[in-house]
């Protein structure tokens, strides 16, 4: 059997003290280790999706229906002032943001599920940095959200929305979708670490989705909101996701001035949430 190589691995009892030296690691080592581990955790989820893509595919139905039913009606109503942009065009990035939010905000349930399975215990016992465990999960929420982008692009093109198909813009959309999913899934995982049961996370998630979605610029411009709600909308990360997607997804849009802010805000919020979540993560098994 080749499982163990006693001589090379453990040596004689006298070596115990020598072996008991902590590993010396440098900062670059640490960083490369950190990114590698993050990607392994994300790879885990992607492999699972490859074996069973059903859930991912059924989730594309909801945004499709929003765009088809809600979008087709409201674009005829002309009740929402969207300037020179047809309402359906205005709505498409909003619906993509919405589906990113819906996928991510319940993501905490997945780690509770894994806690109950005992998988999280094994991750926590392995030499994997906590932040890598959290960011790996956040990235996989992004991987789950990407098919939504594809379905919305297809549907929007079919419905006659003038989409920007510039490769750089598409790349920007991919990054934003992953970043947005990472942001809200980390938020959801924090809730999961604090509340620890599926039902509670589900309940809180449902309470949160409504204000997050409607107190944003997803389906109407912030300008039509009352002043107090405008303040809230500006503090809502979803607003920045919608704003960035709207700038990148629609053809004929030349104003990219807000894009920098959108990326920075989403990135900063995700990072802060991820650090908090990494601190709380071990609590889920306590």
């Amino acid at each position: 059997m080749k499982l163990q190589e006693p001589a090379a691995q453990h040596g004689d009892s006298g070596e115990t003290i020598a072996i008991a030296q902590p590993r010396q690691v440098t900062l670059p080592d640490n960083l490369s280790n950190f990114f590698r581990k993050t990607l392994v955790i994300a790879e885990w989820e992607v492999r699972k999706l490859r074996h069973d893509p059903t859930d991912m595919l059924t989730r594309t139905v909801q945004p499709a229906l929003w765009l088809l039913i809600f979008g087709e009606v409201f674009t005829r109503l002309r009740a929402i002032p969207t300037g020179s942009v047809p309402y359906l065009d205005f709505l498409a990035p909003g619906i993509l943001s919405q589906s990113v939010l819906f996928i991510a905000i319940f993501y905490g349930i997945a780690i509770i599920w894994e806690r109950d399975l005992g998988v999280i215990n094994k991750f926590l016992v392995s030499p994997t940095p906590r932040l890598a465990l959290v960011l790996g999960k956040a990235l996989s929420a992004g991987a789950r959200a990407l098919p939504q982008a594809i379905i919305i692009y297809i549907l929007a093109l079919v419905l006659g929305v003038r989409m920007n198909l510039n490769p750089l813009a598409l790349l920007g959309v991919v990054v934003l979708v992953v970043l947005g999913a990472a942001c809200f899934s980390t938020f959801s995982m924090i809730i999961a670490c604090l509340l620890k049961t599926r039902d509670r996370v589900m309940g809180i998630g449902q309470i949160l989705t409504m204000p997050l979605f409607f107190a944003s610029n997803a389906i109407y411009p912030i300008a039509i909101m009352p002043a107090w709600l405008q303040v809230i909308a500006h503090g809502n990360p979803l607003t920045y996701l919608v704003d960035g997607l709207r700038a990148l997804m629609l053809a004929g849009n030349t104003d990219m001035s807000g894009l920098g802010t959108d990326f920075v805000v989403l990135f900063a919020v995700t990072l802060i949430l991820a650090v908090i979540c990494a601190k709380l993560y071990p609590r889920i098994v306590e």
């Binding site: 006693p6 115990t16 074996h51």
Partner: protein, 266 residues
């Protein structure tokens, strides 16, 4: 012999409740050490502290020479862990489950595939390696977990009730793998169990845990000799030490047996 697990006065409170009440013991290198006790005796809490999943309330412990509070990363690199619940990922294949852990444990890229195959071969799962784990039986999942926990050649392997819920054949298979591991390597095995038979057939030394304390610690044979004559089973020993705990957790039959034993011993 040198101690590879050293535990000093380890305490864990959960609010008002004391789960582990100041236990101290050493585990020698290469032995199979068992913590035996009824549900709620504090076995799992003890193991969770040793594998860095729970911070102790007080006391200290070293695993493979590393402090479980201050050198968590080094402890984690030195140990393998098989949790109580069957916990492999059902939506991945057996091979994938192991491959991903090989990556998490920093096994060099070139060695990953061969190590995973060796580990699968060790537990007899080569033929099933490309099946999704959701189609595995309980015994196969447990064997897969043992294989996973050995990938990085840990110095101490922790198993929390490794055969609970398995049928006798699967249980025997796990025992055989653990005995093979003990005989052919110097991996130290630390397990918890409430099966007397398991403790008797696997463990070189057994600590009997009762309401957060270790009330007896010795070889199975010595424990039997201490409690009674030649016909004493480890079960009698267990009942002798953990007897009154069974009133809350055990069946009537066990309780009655405990009382009989207590009377017999005067």
């Amino acid at each position: 012999m040198t101690a590879i697990v050293e535990v000093h006065d380890l305490v864990k409170h959960f609010g008002e409740h004391t789960a582990v009440n100041g236990v101290s013991f050493d585990v020698e290198r290469g032995e199979v050490f068992g913590l035996l006790g009824p549900n709620g005796a504090g076995k799992t809490t003890t193991i969770k502290m040793l594998i860095t999943l729970l911070p102790p309330t007080s006391g200290s412990a070293r695993v493979a020479g590393f402090d479980i509070v201050h050198q968590k990363a080094d402890v984690r690199r030195s140990i393998g862990y098989v949790p109580q619940a069957l916990s492999a990922d059902g939506t991945l294949t057996g091979y994938e489950n192991l491959l991903l852990f090989a990556k998490l444990y920093d096994i060099p890229h070139k060695e990953q595939a061969s190590r995973v195959r060796d580990a699968l071969a060790f537990v007899g799962l080569i033929d099933a390696s490309n099946q999704l784990v959701q189609h595995y039986s309980g015994g196969m999942i447990r064997r897969l977990e043992v294989a996973q926990s050995l990938l990085h050649r840990p110095r101490v392997l922790f198993l929390d009730e490794p055969t609970v819920g398995l049928d006798p054949v699967a249980r025997q298979a796990i025992w055989n793998h653990l005995l093979e591991l003990r005989n052919e390597t110097d991996t130290t095995i630390f397990l918890t169990t409430h099966s007397m038979e398991e403790a008797d057939s696997l463990c070189s030394r057994v600590g009997i845990m009762h309401r957060g304390d270790i009330v007896a610690l010795d070889t199975p044979d010595n424990l039997k000799t201490t409690v009674g004559g030649a016909n004493t089973t480890l079960n009698d020993v267990f009942v002798h030490y953990a007897g009154d705990a069974l009133e809350s957790g055990g069946s009537y039959r066990e309780t009655a047996r405990a009382r009989r034993t207590a009377r017999r011993l005067g």
